[in-house]
Point group: C2
Chain length 507, copies 2
């Protein structure tokens, strides 16, 4: 057997041999029951001392990967087999407490449009259902180098717990970014989290108990609705229009429901892309203050603006301690970084830091350190500017494609920023029924239902992520969508006419 | 001004100039109000086209880092100042909902022994209070290379969300590791989490509601107690001895409290280092089954064994669906990796996957991918064996040092594995009072109180982490601890004799 051994390496020879064999055995390329060369033979093959080979074999025997047959040599052991999913006697019931979870049910996420699209098996599928930006734009190579530099600079320190609040230099960089957006923040008011989703779930779990009421604009971010439901909270939806949450309707709902929290996405709402007007921002703050309700401001893509004037964040208008601000690097860079943050003050900040600690101790510090240097040398800002230029073109391409390929009855307000456009279908078409039809033609979108506290309200809406594809692809995808809509309308007309025909025949 | 420009780089020249200036400005080495060379001047200094310099300046102006004074050139802008921590008018009260959090109080973590030690300012402090292994042993350089290889291999994919359950190859590697420990597990029963702390908090939050009762052995892991308290749960402690939880006492407590969960650390308990006996393991499973209570098995260092026979995990004895198994790579490798996992089946597994998703969407996949290749090529196993050898010696060093330097009245059972030793002080000494004294002599430990549902029970106990220091340091640290104990005893005697003296004088 030929094993590459590196005599210059700091790794002892027997470890090199061991690692090589271990890899071959675990990967299966050395099959169970294979007989290994005798140690003397192997030693002379590799030109190493026999003891070296014996040590390597011994290590592997100790791990149950090799076994000796007295007299006949050393063999590859069957690796510990994967057990079948353990069950009581087949068909026997789960423990009662598990059955209760079962009967509670409703915990599995619904089938994802992207999976439907894949299942449809179109040769060249176009997916508008995604939730993040265009990963292909992310300079992974550049980031790899930053990771390298950080590991070289910090060594093991980059892999220790670090501060509970998060890596201090990154917190102060974030404070600077926020300050440049008019949001008063101090590094000691910033908590780094595993993406904004964790920030939101920490806030909600800290401030609310099962049965409490929470106000959201309707429609709103589907995963937050999932979170609120899974916590057994009462969701109070405030209708939203092209200027965001209809704050005019809020006061009555506050009086009726005594909510413990108001969750809102004032900039480029997910899913509608709408921005909350300045007048409504001020009114929202006044109401929250009067009725003593904290505001959770989710600013997940606030700085992805393609037009219009930036409005001050709620946090920027807050006299202090009333607004909890949440944002993330995931949408702008890579979702898998899982680095988000919240900014808050007062007793709440103290408790959320503690609560984060008991929830997962700390967020992996390597990405925090890498992000910090990535942002500080201006790469992040450059990437952001690049993204804005590219996404604006894609937004424009979508606007034109919708005008070109979709029936006039389909309504869409071109978003001023963010990743999403929100379409309203003609009354007779359901986005749920449209989706499978569209997937067959090779295009997927997010049906509106998931974004409403009560799904039925979403029947005639759908969300398109225009950030993920170049203009040509967007045009083609919308064309397919138009085709799917026309087919549905045709079917509707046919069945209608059949109905009339049938009527005609009745005496 | 001299700026290093690399004409061979793929980064455009104007970006290189921009990044250089940006870094200088943000770092403050280019002070506000500094006048930059005119673009023509700078261009000839650097031997680049004037447009290049103008583009660089323009980018920095766009970001508010430079500003032009007509006629007099371009100046460094004051970077957006850090706002003070925002407050309503000084001294004005926080919003009511914040005041309620304040009055609820008790959320700040107690002062950490390590901080006390640092504050004491000893020239050469020795910290036995830590919770993890010896980070200096971790082959950071080796891991850096694995990270590199993974980034090169997977590129941006290593930075996307990945599967909700966690990176599939790592889940199957974990399933193999568990199988080799006799724990039946399938990759589709494994959920990757942000360390075992998140796994535990997901399980607890999913199964319990405020006011529910949870059974723990007393003493147990302090951070889990913090978690249970922060969730408003009723903690029922079962006394533990050198053979773990006194399961004989459990049934009565189950009848009285109807707990919704039993949390236990059967191997090398944190803090005591004790292992649950086989008889008690079987009895615990039988009781949990009879009273329909799920068991949460925390096996945070199960494979760090220095002696004795390995006992089957509760999960290995579970007929199926009754035990939720939690473990981590943090203790063995680097805490900052934040990669742990749980193994469970049935409806519970489905819901915990969903619950993890709404809590933080997914765990950063880069470390998952790096760990997977690190483990598969056998580096993890090698590191584990190395750690066992080294930690065993340190355990032995501690045992000898305790015998040599501490009063005979101090009790300690040498642990068979793990990271911690548990000491009982003579009745007249409180570990809380001992700590500051010890810190002044240059040694810190974890006082017992934090590990008991009711802190008072911990008065005369303390936890030593012996894994973090070489034998000589351990000996010296224990010597200092002995010194601190003797001082306290002396003080006690003196005040006692003064008391007697005083009595003597009374008529």
């Amino acid at each position: 057997m030929r094993i590459p051994v590196d005599r210059k390496s700091s790794v002892p020879l027997y470890r090199q041999i061991e690692a090589f064999l271990r890899q071959r055995i675990l990967s299966g390329s050395l099959a169970p029951q294979t007989r290994l060369p005798a140690t003397r033979q192997m030693a002379s093959d590799l030109g190493v001392n026999r003891i070296t080979v014996e040590n390597a074999y011994a290590e592997l025997e100790a791990d149950g990967l090799l076994f000796p047959r007295t007299g006949s040599g050393t063999y590859v052991q069957q690796p510990a087999p994967l057990a079948p999913i353990p069950r009581r006697e087949p068909g026997a019931p789960w423990p009662l407490w598990q059955q209760e979870i079962q009967s509670a049910g409703g915990t599995e996420p619904p089938v994802r449009p992207s999976d439907l699209l894949e299942a449809a098996g179109h040769a060249d599928p176009i997916d508008f259902a995604g939730g993040s930006g265009d990963c292909r734009m992310f300079p992974a190579e550049e980031y790899r180098k930053v990771l390298q530099a950080v590991m070289r600079r910090d060594g093991a320190a980059a892999l220790e717990y670090g501060e509970y609040q998060g890596y201090a230099p990154l917190r102060s960089t974030i404070a600077h970014i926020l300050a440049s957006q008019g949001i008063p923040a101090h590094p000691d008011n910033v908590l780094i989290t595993a993406g904004s989703q964790q920030a939101i779930s920490l806030v909600v779990q800290l401030l609310l108990r099962p049965g409490d009421a929470v106000v959201v604009e309707s429609p709103t971010y589907s995963l937050v609705l999932d979170l609120l439901l899974s916590l057994g909270l009462k969701i109070v939806g405030v209708p939203a229009d092209e200027a965001g949450m209809q704050v005019e309707r809020l006061e009555q709902l506050l009086q009726q429901n005594h909510p413990k929290l108001i969750y809102t996405i004032p900039n480029f709402s997910n899913p509608t892309g709408a921005c909350l007007s300045l007048a409504r921002r001020r009114r929202l703050l006044a109401l929250a203050d009067r009725y003593n309700v904290p505001i959770l401001e989710d600013d997940y893509v606030g700085d992805l603006r393609y037009g219009g004037r930036a409005l001050p964040a709620l946090k920027a208008l807050d006299p202090g301690g009333g607004v909890i601000y949440v944002s993330t690097f995931s949408k702008m860079l890579m979702p898998g970084l899982r680095v988000g943050f919240l900014a808050a003050e007062g007793p709440f900040y103290e408790s959320v830091v503690h609560y984060k600690r008991v929830n997962d101790l700390a967020t992996s510090s390597l990405h925090q350190r890498a992000l910090e240097s990535y942002v500080t040398v201006g790469r992040y800002q450059a990437h952001l500017r690049r993204s804005c230029l590219i996404y604006r073109r894609r937004r424009d391409a979508l606007t034109q494609a919708v005008a070109r390929h979709l029936p006039a009855a389909v309504r869409m307000d071109p978003p001023q920023g963010g990743l999403f456009a929100w379409l309203r279908l003609p009354g007779d078409i359901s986005s749920e029924i449209l989706l499978p039809q569209a997937c067959r033609l090779g295009v997927a979108f997010a049906p509106g239902g998931a974004f409403f506290p009560s799904g039925a309200d979403g029947e005639s809406f759908l969300r398109l992520n225009f950030a993920g594809h170049p203009p040509e692809t967007i045009d083609q995808g919308v064309q397919r969508l138009g085709g799917a809509i026309k087919r549905l309308q045709l079917q509707a007309e046919r069945s209608a006419s059949r109905l009339n025909g049938a009527r005609g025949r009745t005496p």
